[in-house]
Symmetry: C2
Subunit: 701 residues, 2 copies
């Protein structure tokens, strides 16, 4: 019998003869990466991992500002790694009652130790999927990073389809609860440990390790309307003008596949039958104040001018007859961008939507490239499926970085270390409850998510869905399969037959108000993003991150914090009431201003146009007079709401809203301060452009 080729890496150094076979044991190297971050280095890790393809350097300065406790939060003696022909597995200690969060943009799961039978642990499959509404842990963005209720985070640096067993395995001779991380193919691993003391600290460290959170362009926080997929220039312009006439707030117009001469696979060439004059179309849209976002996916049609040049820099399998560009090579990036420059970036298109870059791991008829695909960079299909979204985002970001411009795109796949990337995840799935869970989970792993609104089961469903998307990173109305806005007709078929609802005027009025609510939150949300950038604190996050010691929030997956002051508890069509748990502190109902003590559950009966919102006492909440869209010189008229007594200060961030100058000092921090009846506004910074904020009122909430 051939000797097994396993090695066991165990803390501390010891020699093992386990189960009759020989294992080689060794001490892994433990490096301090930054204050509060350690890397445990096992064996010989693969080259192609998330850290190899980082989108931004680690924010060392930001990390050094964080409070830091010296010892590594996990017991080193309980961490071990085993390497075999099939890959690498790591055992990590757990404690009874420990909860685990994160591992990607899950829309069905929250506490990853929970099963139908209670907190017994489960297996999570970190595979990218186009159908995330499953309980397997697959998602549009499977991220091998989790945080523990015990106050630490773990990042497993792998582009493999890893499995995480959150406490439901029983190693022989190990009495305590154990997590198993199973990574195929790798012959070693780097496992990063992020210190707390709280989960939020660990998340912030992870995001700063990733390079810090992204700052969107100001217009990116406005409303995005995506037109019908087959619209040509005329229909697009007509509907865009109609939205303006109806005073529907809208900053971004999304152009779906119809702009291309071929789209499955993509030509990246304008369809001149639908868009005979691209320049004229863009000019007219811009005259109306719209920014443009263009749909594409990466699979490159034989009809694309770049096909022949791209072929040597593509994978060895086709998708929909198109090449799969190897975005891990500079050659593929250059060739791919050259064609996208011609069609999009040279035309100053502000953003793109990167579709179809995920996978169908459990499909009997997968449409994307096989895991066995070979790419010229050396990546295989499995690694590329993990990294495809990130590499595609990075590629499409280059033109903006070169011009010093920000962008705000959409993408259907992402992975680890994505916090600095200006792309928001979306899905073809459409369960509203799951969409809310996506918002609750996005903050655990450096992700952003839009619960986009398409059609609706009813007018109530439309309102409830819009209320939710208003409190996300990108308020997307995606009408790619309906010709008219959903507020004219919620039903897809009737909409496309032009049978508009008799109630459409009232509905339009209501939707306008809901979207205006979004617009009034933009300055507040912009602050949250700027702090995401500098501190790593996610702008949207689960309650458990802010109240880690409150056992009542451990399983709450239908409420979330939107910035530091606002608790959002979406309602769903058919609900006449819902329970809202309010954590410690006092809270004010956003609509009635009624005050509630914290640590309690309240039943709310908000009408179908008023999403339950609670504002934290002791805060300042600046709200803007809504604008219809954000112009280069837009100045927000701000009412500062003083919520409760002794409010903390609030900082507004003022900059040009579109370039990367903000990161080089071209930004003012405007500190709002209230003490009883006395208020002050203190600005600092080197932004000298048009003013963004005018404080028009201070108001006790």
């Amino acid at each position: 019998m051939r000797l097994p080729r396993w090695f066991s890496f165990v803390f501390p150094l010891c020699a093992l003869a386990v189960h009759g076979a020989e294992y080689r044991s060794t001490t892994p190297r433990v490096d301090s990466v930054a204050p509060g971050i350690w890397r445990i280095h096992f064996g010989n890790p693969e080259l192609f991992t998330p850290t190899h393809f980082r989108s931004a350097p680690m924010d060392t300065a930001g990390l050094e500002k964080m409070p830091f406790s010296r010892p590594m939060p996990l017991d080193q003696a309980q961490i071990s790694c085993r390497i075999s022909d099939r890959g690498c597995s790591v055992l990590l200690p757990m404690t009874p009652g420990e909860s685990i969060y994160g591992l990607g943009l899950n829309t069905e799961l929250f506490d990853m130790t929970q099963t139908a039978k209670g907190q017994t642990g489960r297996r999570l499959f970190l595979k990218p999927t186009d159908s995330p509404e499953n309980d397997l842990g697959e998602s549009h963005a499977p991220v091998p990073f989790f945080v523990s209720s015990d106050g630490y985070g773990i990042f497993v640096d792998t582009a493999r389809f890893a499995s995480f067993y959150t406490g439901d395995v029983t190693p022989v001779g190990r009495g305590s609860k154990t997590m198993l991380v199973d990574v195929p193919a790798a012959k070693g691993l780097d496992v990063y440990v992020f210190a707390g003391p709280t989960m939020l600290d660990a998340v912030e460290r992870y995001n700063l390790f990733s390079g810090g959170g992204v700052v969107p362009p100001l217009w990116g926080l406005g409303v995005q309307y995506r037109g019908y997929g087959k619209f040509g220039a005329d229909e697009s312009l007509a509907l865009a003008a109609h939205l303006r006439a109806e005073r529907i707030p809208c900053d971004v117009w999304g152009v779906e596949p119809g702009w291309q001469s071929a789209s499955y696979s993509c030509s990246f060439v304008w369809d001149t039958s639908r868009f005979p004059d691209p320049h004229g179309f863009l000019a007219k849209m811009r005259d109306m104040g719209y920014r443009l976002n263009f749909w594409e996916h990466a699979f490159t049609s034989p009809s694309s001018p770049m096909y022949r040049e791209l072929q040597p820099w593509s994978g060895n399998y086709l998708v929909w007859g198109g090449l799969v560009p190897d975005f891990a090579t500079p050659q593929a990036r250059t060739i791919f961008l050259r064609q996208n420059d011609v069609s999009l970036f040279n035309r100053q298109v502000e953003a793109v939507k990167l579709d179809e870059c995920d996978y169908q791991p459990e499909s009997p008829t997968p449409w994307s490239f096989p895991l066995a695909t070979a790419f010229p960079s050396g990546l295989d299909g499995e690694q590329m499926h993990s990294l495809f979204g990130v590499l595609y985002q990075q590629t499409m970001l280059e033109p903006y970085r070169e011009k010093g411009l920000r962008t705000w795109g959409l993408v259907r796949n992402s992975q680890a270390l994505a916090a600095p990337l200006p792309y928001v995840l979306y899905s073809d799935s459409y369960d509203h409850r799951s969409y809310v869970r996506g918002l609750v989970n996005e903050g655990f792993g450096g992700l952003l998510w839009t619960p986009e609104v398409r059609d609706a089961a009813s007018i109530e469903d439309l309102y409830r869905r819009i209320e939710t998307v208003v409190f996300s990173s990108d308020a997307v109305i995606n009408s790619w399969f309906i010709k008219n806005p959903a507020w004219d007709q919620v039903d897809r078929d009737k909409n496309n037959r032009g049978e508009l609802m008799p109630e459409r005027e009232t509905v339009t009025d209501t939707v306008r108000k809901l979207l205006q609510l979004r617009m009034s939150f933009i300055p507040y949300l912009y602050t949250a993003f700027n702090e995401y950038h500098s501190t790593g604190k996610p702008p949207i996050r689960a309650l458990v991150l802010d109240w880690p010691d409150d056992p009542n929030v451990r399983e709450i997956d239908d409420e979330f914090m939107f910035g530091d002051s606002v608790l959002v508890a979406p309602m769903f069509a058919g609900q006449s009431s819902r329970n809202v748990y309010l954590p410690a502190g006092d809270w004010f109902d956003f609509w009635t201003h009624a005050k509630f003590g914290g640590g309690t559950t309240v039943e709310v009966t908000n009408g179908i146009t008023q999403i339950p919102l609670f504002v934290r006492s002791g805060t300042l909440l600046p709200l803007a007079e809504p604008v219809e869209h954000i112009k280069p010189d837009t100045c927000f008229n701000i009412t500062v709401n003083i919520v409760g007594n002794k409010p903390g200060d609030f900082t507004l961030y003022e900059d040009d809203g579109t370039t990367s100058d903000y990161a080089q000092g071209g930004q003012n921090q405007i500190q709002l301060h209230a003490n009883g009846a006395s208020h002050s506004v203190l600005g600092s910074g080197d932004y000298h452009g048009p003013p963004r904020f005018k404080i028009t009122a201070w108001k006790q909430f």
Copy 2:
């Protein structure tokens, strides 16, 4: 950038620089393994594969008897292999319209190129599962062997969870239809090619390569009744006596978990509260003429006497708190058998049922050992999951082999090269339609399957299910969760409450007749098994194996051949009629003796107690007077039915029915011959025990 570690093995020898990366190309070694069997050897295959753990040596003599055409059936220039860090992938040529069959005991799929959109190919996942009713290709017995309608077979010698893409991938620059086999972890592969000219030839070669088909003990072909799981000795004896009193044919009594003092995990020790006197219980059952089959699974409880000794020879994770024996080590086999000897084999128990040896590949809460498990033999969890059923069967076969006895067990997991193993697969799933598909598919890959009968939705459902199981390798009535036979009460809850059906007498009469039908087919079926042994021809098989040139049978997955003469077309509860396609040749309705021309579809309206059966013209069909159970000296009274004109000869196989002497010449072949009104019976062989057959009549059918 590190150089990728891929190598491309392509026929013929050529050096490639594909897609900008360096690939090393080489010529694989092609060996002739036996007439009509070639091995293509790529790279450095893993040690632990199905051939490494063969259950029997290749039947070289049997293979040399087959007609053989010299060239390898596939175009070598179109076969290539790529090896990377994540494993190994093989490309094989396909032709337009080619159908693929096999790849394990699928119960949802048949022609593996078929999808909802037609014959476009699909991905099949060769993973063992306890929930086979999915369309992924997972099954209780995932076998990396397939046959093609183009007349060849392919066996990929791997214990990895391989994927087969049956024509739905598009390699760049390869215009023709292609199969991709994706094998994780392996750094090389042996791919075996089996020549036709027909699919049946390829299947026969594969089965002979596996060691030839199994010959059951005669009693194994009788009816098996498994008692309620918690029955003790008294209840078991009472019900066993009741079956005899009711003259229900039954050869084997199955004892479910209740016999053990602990069963999840297993102690392998008698529960003396339920069975205070095992010896007495067994003696009384034997007095009634029953053979015994005892349930167990392999996971060994801490309460088992062998636990401590077994631990060093077990995997490093527990299942239900029990050890997972490493059946790839002689030590685990010895220790495990020593305890099973004490409880079972020293007591001459005739068979075992090996439960729970499959897996839950896509479960969020898998109960079995993780894929990352390490075994002392050097196998990892993935390999062990592929091989667990086969290794467990081999282990439990040793006591019988030592004694020169045959056995006939049940098992829930198997894999490749299993034809010589005396175990029949079963499932917890229960869709009757799927169960029939299992029968249709079993013959493609050396497997046996019982569509066992438990409870039923109605009396009609009970009849229809029993009709199906009668035409399988093991007529199992598995009452593990009902206290009374289903013919007393089909409804599980009512059954267990003792609320018996008013119709139970009639139902019992009918069921008795259905099971008697089984008993009358035993000599005929025994012939089919003996020919399975010597020629590799599966006793139960899809029509497409016998009529490969008839396009009408390419997608027929609800009819099958039972031996060489009988076409079975089961009906399902609720059906008042069904269509039956009859291939070329003339056919006789088994019940009415009406004659039908072949190449046509007939609509049958068989009543609920008469399964549609058609007997092939030009054959002799020996049917026995049914006995209630098979004794050491049972002699079957045979009526030889002469079906149509100019019937071919039929050979009956006569031996002791229980030992392996049959293989050493202790068997007579009794050739039945009819020519018009003249009949002859010609015996040869060295069996000298009690006669098995008495030809009582020759009858024109």
